[in-house]
Symmetry: C2
Amino acid sequence: MALPSSKSFDNKLSLESRCRKTSLLETLNQHFDNEKIIFFGSGLPSPDLFPWKELKSKFYSKSVLNTSKPEAAIDDWATKTNSNPFVEVHSDAKALSAGLQYGNAGGRGDFLEFVKEHVKLFHELNYSDWGVAATAGTTQAWETILRIFCDRGDSILAETFSYPPSLSTAQSQGVHIHPVPMDENGVIPQKLQHMLENWQHQRKLPKLFYIIPTGQNPTGSTLSNERRKAIYKIAEEYDILIVEDEPYYFLQMESYIKAKSNRKRHDQLMSEYKRSLKKSFLSLDVSGRVIRLDSLSKILAPACRLGWIVASEKILLHYLNLQAVSIQAPSGFSQMMVLELFKRWGQDGYARWLMQLSGIYRNSRDVVCDALIERLPSGNFVQFTAPTAGMFFTIHINLSYLPHFDPELGAKTYEDRLYNKFLEDGVLLVPGSWFTCSPDVLYEEKKDTFQSCQIFFRGSFATVSFHQLEEGAKRIGDCLGKMLNTA
Amino acid sequence: MALPSSKSFDNKLSLESRCRKTSLLETLNQHFDNEKIIFFGSGLPSPDLFPWKELKSKFYSKSVLNTSKPEAAIDDWATKTNSNPFVEVHSDAKALSAGLQYGNAGGRGDFLEFVKEHVKLFHELNYSDWGVAATAGTTQAWETILRIFCDRGDSILAETFSYPPSLSTAQSQGVHIHPVPMDENGVIPQKLQHMLENWQHQRKLPKLFYIIPTGQNPTGSTLSNERRKAIYKIAEEYDILIVEDEPYYFLQMESYIKAKSNRKRHDQLMSEYKRSLKKSFLSLDVSGRVIRLDSLSKILAPACRLGWIVASEKILLHYLNLQAVSIQAPSGFSQMMVLELFKRWGQDGYARWLMQLSGIYRNSRDVVCDALIERLPSGNFVQFTAPTAGMFFTIHINLSYLPHFDPELGAKTYEDRLYNKFLEDGVLLVPGSWFTCSPDVLYEEKKDTFQSCQIFFRGSFATVSFHQLEEGAKRIGDCLGKMLNTA
């Protein structure tokens, strides 16, 4: 059965997007390869004048990806294999002539082909005219999406706690952010429904919902499939676009099991890994209202400044019209390097890399959770939920259990104090209020509610050694214990 | 004598720029290297998990740069040398750990150091607090500058004919472009003065002047030092920022000499080359009102998507605040590749590369000029001025010399016809009207003036072989000759 095509959301476009005209120069390209025509139309420099004549890159070989999941660092993993753990590939002058010339705004064709296949492997596409485009990373993609849809004065939704640069970009553009309540499992669909049902702002309904569904930054929470479905349904009902920012999607891991002896020790099967992944909003989408942003920053390396957007061709058109006059195209060096790696690894190899990576993150997650559970004061003063994706854990503190707690001082004051106490004791955690649209306001608004005495801190276990994870957990536990016990 | 510091132009900032808040997360960095603190604050992935372990690049060696200027293509140049024309450099895992991690929004420190030295070699800086920042190319930098200074409804100046994406970016942002009249030598200062003296638009005076001073796109014109000084003086008088977009600055060449025997055959000296370069607006700037954009697209390779901006630190601050939440930083692969090349070549080698490159472009310029002068119909129907920089030549046509010329049809109609006639005869030139803010309007406005019968076409000699340049010139000449002689 043929899939339906996507809906048009052109009615949501910003004034800027509606005003954008593409250059007539683009019509010249049709004549570029015509041998009968001498082409004086090009501003391209001659590839003969590119100084680079060869590039070589060495990276983990596919054989490494097929070995057992490492228990410790990846270096062990690599050296465990019998075969050469590295492969070296090279791009010759001809490849460089093409790869270093001006290129498509949305990325090289061969790169996009690989990405499309990858998308099909991990998502179900329920409409026909979807497509992909390369981005210079998710931050750039999000900024571009805001500009194509939002005018000054428009509204969007975001999780109450979210990635600060994403929020501040919207705010400086004059876009109002309405925070959607969340708990330890992410956005609460009922609260979202309630917000929209009772929308009494003078402003129009929000145009889009910016959401980090998996291993959320900063809360570490991951939305269940049920919540995703419920949220998508609400978005359909209120005609809101969903922008799912998913840098940690492939870093999903088995739930934390406290008893070490009960933890799975066998290698995960690919089928198992794929089945365990939460359904993306993209997979739930039937009308083309989901814009998915994938990043390579946590998967390969941040400085690639390369990722991709998956959306309907109708939306990609406007996206690319802006991208063409901002970054023009992602770096050709980055595209070449990543593509060479993708080609060597293949879809299967890349999928295995993702699975292995999630296994490595799981090991760190287990170490920090073991240590925190051992070290944190017992009782209701501190609450800790083990994350099931990404690189963040959070420690929630109920200030009302503190001796001499004075609600009048406000939670923010206590948060500041605790941040500094942690630092004095040699451990850095990031205060939760830093991840709100307006740090000072959030706790103020809640002054009279139960939550006024709740604060939290975000920790990342990504770059910290096992030993440091344990020592850090000890320092956190000791510091909180002292606070609780100072009469 | 100590240089004065720059003026503040914060009064010109856009609402967006004034609303931008930087993230508290940035304050964490001060603790990053403190060994006493276990740092749970980072969203950085572990460099152990970057799959790349080594990069190698092969490019022209410094010895190639020191050999005689090539008469033909660069391949001859390279093979002429006795020594190995290439050098291979490699970056090891340690270099990759740093180079592929999240980095400064404005680029790596070592890259910026090289660029600063380069800037000092070629420009005179007349105020103390200037700085540089890496960009993802000039298109991105210009889009960013527009956003930090201009609100919807603001005005800017641009040359009457200019680079279409630069114009359309401003237009879609709702910024009004006021075209400044130009002749074959670029912008006419007196006309600019006149425009501003008689400013009767309801709108405020323009905030900035976007200008391509050297080898201008599309006209190929280069501003004389006198005109530059006059324009800068006017900008000071009317408090207008100057954004000089200079992709072709280093492709300046000796004036065209018709008699081949009189052309210099000896190698140009570096001192001669440097002295021959027109004074940049940056070198004229005493108050920090000039923002200079340098591109590597025509110098090394377009897909680097890497360039730099030179401006006062006061302006760079706002520039980087936006760049940090759009592209985050230019590609790390691009920065590493270009930096390795810069390091191997050194300031002297890079300067020689620029000079050699301009020599190569000069050769093509001479070939196409020789051929056009031979082939174009004589008389006043066609006018041609040989460019002294960049990659563009223009052919101006006075339609009033055409038999049966009907002014009522409008110049645009004739331009369209001629574009298609050229194509039929196997040569592509780009119509001048494509480079105006609004192609249909420009000629309309001039309907009653002398210029209503003037049109022009832009040609690029950059990627065209000598043989094709000659054949193309013949086709242009024949086509125009036919038009003139059809009774």
